[in-house]
Symmetry: C2
Subunit: 125 residues, 2 copies
């Protein structure tokens, strides 16, 4: 990881919590640093339960949801909280406490970046 630390791209991602990453897949081979950032985002969606929870938040009224809103995916509430935390760590969700509950919201810039990586690739293929 020592060589990755030197990349400004990674520092920005670490500072902001979101990643302004990466080039379209068809443009050029990704660098090690870019792949590190992008793979972290894809990996966060690489679990079926996590993906269902993420889509539950994304499709919820107003674009946000609390644990109380999305407990119908067949796992316990601690498990739901665990996965939401993982999605937040990956920069895909933001959260805000209001009263008793923590509300989660999709981070649009990160999703847009992931979509751009893939959409360009498929358009050019």
């Amino acid at each position: 990881m020592s060589n990755v630390k030197a990349l400004p791209l990674i520092e920005t991602a670490e500072q902001s919590g979101v990643a302004p990453c990466c080039p379209p897949l068809t443009e050029r081979p990704m660098t090690a640093g870019e792949a590190e950032v992008a793979a972290r985002m894809f990996k966060a969606l690489g679990d079926p339960v996590r993906l269902r929870l993420f889509s539950a938040v994304a499709s919820h009224e107003g674009g946000e949801a609390c644990v109380c809103d999305i407990s119908d995916v067949g796992v316990s509430q601690p498990t739901v909280s665990h996965h939401l935390k993982k999605l937040k760590e990956a920069g895909l969700l933001t959260s805000e406490r209001r009263g008793t509950w923590v509300y989660y919201r999709v981070e649009p810039s990160v999703l847009a970046a992931m979509g751009r990586i893939l959409a360009s690739a498929s358009a050019a293929a």
Copy 2:
């Protein structure tokens, strides 16, 4: 997995090797079956080395590459082959043997499906 087997979506994906999946993230919560298919694709891109290899194939001249073309990511050739196999199993690459080498090509329909899932989400957010 027994309840997943009953979904036509999964059967189609298994038959064709590519997944005509899934609804945009903002549309409605994904079902268990949809999330199973989509998570498999995202997980395949959730490894930095695999993602670099995938972008190397996607950005290579003519949209295809053999192991001999993309050996500069700092891992051994057997490791490259292993990751290419994983990407193929996930339906993201197709392969064809021509002479000595196996040539890999990006599967555009799968990438388009992944892009659609994410792009719609970010546009609506």
